[in-house]
Symmetry: C2
Subunit: 389 residues, 2 copies
DNA sequence: ATGACTTTGTAAGGTAAGTTAACTTTCCTG
DNA sequence: CAGGAAAGTTAACTTACCTTACAAAGTCAT
């Protein structure tokens, strides 16, 4: 049900609009803001005064005249607030303190092993305690990207197998402990938001980030908004069948995408290859070794990776058809596989979707690198707390 | 880029809110509106006065007291405006005049044959002229559901093969001719909006309507909003490959969903069956005959229809996985195939998606019948012009 | 029957936040 | 150096919300 409108909301929206304008332009005068937003100049002055009282905006000094009185430039003070972003999608939990421009001020990591002496939650507390202690600036908030089924609206981790979390109300716990706004969302979805907001910008209106690690998932930004699902769990594509007579997957089915393109699946296939060849101890082979073999020109490994690409291409074609074309970006381990995998995906899409849909579906590696989840988390904060981005 | 907020927008939103409240409740007092919307009573009175001046709302008389002065009930006058909805998705164009409650006042149809003496656009004009002439009430607008690629934002039919339309700016043409707001969208998408808004209400947040006729397409309401695609063309699922060694499709590929579950595909398969059997002249068989044979218990036909269900199930499973579970409803010819096809779809989903996702994906026939596109078009008008629904 | 209390709807006045108009300051230019 | 132009502020106005107050019309207990 829609809500009633009030003057306060009008004000809040215009405040956001002005702040966003300052943020986007970097450095701008009040008069320029008024022209760009079509707000009256006194209104802009009033709002800017308010933003300066909150220390979000500072005056920088006069810029050269453009034919009259020199304009006083204002800008967002990057250190007006700090943000904490956390990435729980890997075996070592990572967290950073950033300023409002997304500049990383401090990095921390906490290796996490299931069955170790600490619970995952203790480790998160430990990580956050350390990060909070490093900054004396007011905190805009804390944002987390975590694997598993997450109810981003209520801030509850419904299920995260690797951390033994079920229905953990993590937003409430962290808000009570740190007294700042907390956001949490699925890691793939956070990555998608990050790529959409902070990645290379000439995107179609729908963006899908397929993220590969131990599992495979995708996050979707549809029509500019993060798609969460019903109410959660969109993009769990790891168990789509992409091979008709494929291997057995941990989920019980056969031929799942994860068995073909998941880190574990790829490594297993290369190990099997090595066993056939009677080469070095296969158990030694990890993902990095696979990459090294691939880059050294190993044809067998290349074939394994192309198969991964074809498997991803099947799912990508489904995405392309259902969404009517989209930008598809690879992240995580998948991004490391290089252009051959992208071509394999493109070929599979071309073979499975109408020409027009294939044409409107672009496949590339994510432009944000290793920090994609952390940057996405910061985007979550900037978007919800300040309305910039 | 977001726009500035003004008092006028505040007013417009509250006006909408009050109107929607009156529309939804059917009959309600000013005081009750104030309580439900949390607006102050004088504000509600003011807005209601405005709505009465526009004749959208009328006073009905006093209701019994609830312990004090009797409340004056107001309601939306269904005949305050009339709406025209048009369905171009079949071989006979259909149009109706409706009141604001969606009650059909007049029906018209114009059989359309490609290569006949009239162009499709002439026929649409003719249909609309006839409809417009039947009502003396002010028109809220005209809404069309048409097959093909449609840019709903600009109101342009980008491509509609059966009507020989390419880049036809139909909104502009009709707005100039009739002087009322015009909306146009893809027929499947309109159907989805109709089912979402006016169909049985206990839906998940994502709804997909798969509509089968000569082609197969689907419309999606994601998160309460119609999903158009990039910027158009979402849901063109007719040419997803669902059989590995299937028949050749008109698109050039093999095993497309349309060859399995499209009207033409189903009829062709039954004709082939009949040829094998050496029975009655296969060329005589149409879709209605297929239905009759099916209902008479013909096992061969049943197998054809189950195959259609399995094909649909493949696509449905993709939808379920990507969206994280959704409501799937069948419309058009597909809705006539009965529960067996629904079960076949469900089985295929169960076999191809994780249990949890399958559980959250419900398959049913659309609750709106033959008029689903017309009703969806009216929903488009009510939503955009009045903000009710 | 009557007085106390409720409920509805309106009237009057206050307030927030936008707008326009006018003014000051400061700069550029001929 | 006068005149014009741009930036920013001040003042007055407008709109649409809110609160408060009140009249009208009902219910209910005594």
């Amino acid at each position: 049900m829609k809500k009633k409108a009030t003057r306060e909301q009008t004000r809040a929206q215009n405040r956001q609009l002005v702040l966003k304008m300052i943020y986007d332009q970097g450095e701008i005068s009040r008069a320029q803001i008024a022209r760009l937003t079509r707000l009256a100049r006194p209104t802009v002055s009033d709002v800017v005064t308010e933003l300066m009282e909150q220390a979000l905006v500072v005056e920088l000094g006069y810029a050269p005249s453009t034919g009259g009185k020199r304009p006083m430039m204002v800008s967002v003070d990057p250190d007006a607030r700090h943000m904490i972003a956390v990435d729980l999608s890997r075996s070592d939990f990572r967290g950073v303190v950033m300023d409002l421009r997304g500049e990383v001020k401090v990095r921390e990591r906490r290796p996490w092993r299931r069955g170790g002496q600490h619970t995952a939650l203790d480790l998160v507390y430990d990580l956050l305690d350390a990060l909070v202690a490093t900054t004396d600036r007011p905190l805009l908030g804390i944002a987390l990207g975590a694997p598993g089924l997450i109810d981003a609206v209520d801030g509850v981790v419904v299920q995260a197998v690797n951390m033994d979390w079920t229905d953990l109300p993590i937003r409430r716990l962290l808000e009570e402990r740190y007294g700042v706004p907390v956001y949490v969302a699925n890691d793939c979805q956070v990555a998608a938001l990050g790529e959409y907001t902070l990645g290379d910008a000439d995107q179609l209106c729908d963006l899908v980030v397929i993220s590969g690690g131990w599992g495979i998932g995708c996050g979707m930004v549809l029509d500019g908004r993060l798609h969460h699902g019903n109410p959660i769990g969109a993009g769990e594509i790891g168990h789509v069948r992409v091979e008709e007579n494929g291997r057995r997957c941990s989920c019980g089915n056969t031929g799942c995408l994860e068995t073909v393109a998941g880190t574990h699946g790829i490594v297993e296939r290369v190990r099997a290859l090595q066993r056939e060849r009677g080469g070095a101890d296969p158990a030694e082979i990890g993902f990095d070794a696979v990459l090294a073999m691939y880059e050294a020109g190993d044809e067998g490994v290349r074939e394994v990776i192309l198969a991964a690409g074809r498997g991803l291409g099947v799912v990508a074609s489904h995405l392309a058809v259902i969404l009517g074309g989209c930008d598809i970006r690879l992240a995580g381990h998948l991004a490391a596989l290089g252009p051959a995998v992208l071509d394999a995906i493109r070929e599979e899409i071309a073979a499975r979707a109408l020409t027009e849909l294939a044409r409107r579906t672009r496949v590339a590696s994510a432009t944000l690198g290793d920090d994609i989840v952390l940057l996405g988390a910061s985007a979550l904060l900037l978007r919800h707390e300040l309305g910039v981005l």
